[in-house]
Amino acid sequence: MRTIWSLFGALALWAAEPAAAAEAHLPFFNANRDWVLRRFEELQRPSNADLAPARAWSFDPFADESALARLRAAQAGLDSATTVGDLGGFRAALDRVLLDAAAAGARLDSLDRCFARHLRTALEVTLAAKPAVDVERVEAWLDGMLVQQRTLSDTERAALAAGGVFEVVRRVVEPRTQTLEVRAWARGATEPSRTLLTVSPPPDQLSVVHLDLDSAQAPARTERTALGGGN
């Protein structure tokens, strides 16, 4: 009998552990908070801010803007070729174009890697709806906080009715488990369709949640994907 109670006690302690751990967040800081904050306030401030310059990326596949001219020249070279030597000139022009294309492709690959490396943790929510569901307003909530509300323009509603996709929200988020709620009001409806889901955006990736709304009242069907990181 004692063994059973011990086991039960251990299980209870085990289940209670995370709650206790959450309460013990930064215990030393919280126990000495006023003193610590005073110590911070007493510090001398540096006069100049360390502002790292913003880094700009640029991409122009044919920076000298001669790609089109080269293609035209190559085309003209072929059209006017009357000798084997002319064909040689055409071949040389074509090779230069191909070299430029290969260099542009390599630059694009490099930018792609840079983009993936510098992705911030972000969440994008998109919405598609059946034509019968004429969505006119949407709201996005994260952990009970309203983060986006939009009234769709006539153009956006027409695009949605024609099978298009509407971006409800796209924002940088914390990489932790959160509750996402999307409310979508159809024309004339007093109550929205509410779609509630738990999201856990991985760090440095763009998490995409796509909602498919079949009905003005029921929750939407959801699809999730992620960009960046190991993808």
């Binding site: 299980l11 995370p18 959450a22 911070f40 914390e174 760090p203």
Partner: protein
């Protein structure tokens, strides 16, 4: 009251417990920095890490199952902290009061590297008749102008032992009881 059928029920209960209740592995302080920096990035563009502290009990190697990380944003003049356990953020807290806190430099030694010195520099002797390493705090500008680890040994009753170590070299800067 507790028949033989109850034992399998309790075992089943254990397996039904939420995933978050599982015991987490002890890790060093730096292991959570990358994750919380992504969270801090979402909170404020100018967020800077100003305080690290163990949120759960430390082992002898300076590792804990859960660590807390406090950030300060000059633009918001606000502090927000995150608690990391098992490579997951398990708590995010906005602090009601704030002070402009200096950033920790990146070149600090990890908790596992620093803790052996703290034990050797008085911790072992202090805890010889009972006691433990209760807190490991990394901060700049509170105990010393430069980033420093403060190891706090506690015996439950009476004054605690504080051992202050330079965060970059690991050298002991100061010891006191209080």
């Amino acid at each position: 009251m507790w028949g033989s059928r109850s034992i399998p029920a309790l075992v089943a209960l254990a397996f039904l417990a939420p995933a978050g209740t599982a015991l987490a592995a002890d890790v060093a302080a730096r292991s959570g920095v990358e994750l919380v920096s992504a969270a801090a990035d979402a909170w404020a563009d100018d967020a800077r890490l100003v305080w690290i502290e163990n949120d759960t009990a430390l082992d002898a190697e300076g590792r804990a199952a859960q660590w807390g990380y406090l950030y300060y944003s000059p633009e918001k003049h606000a502090m927000r902290s995150w608690s990391v356990r098992d490579a997951q953020i398990v708590a995010a807290v906005d602090h009601t009061v704030s002070a402009e806190a200096p950033a920790l430099d990146a070149g600090w030694q990890d908790s596992g590297e620093i803790v052996a010195r703290a034990w050797n520099e008085g911790g072992r002797e202090f805890c010889a008749t009972g006691g433990t390493l209760a807190h490991l705090v990394l901060v700049r500008g509170v105990f010393a102008p430069e980033p420093a680890w403060c190891a706090v040994f506690d015996r439950g009753a009476g004054p605690s032992l504080y051992v202050l170590l330079d965060a970059k070299s690991g050298a002991v800067k100061k010891r006191w009881r209080g």
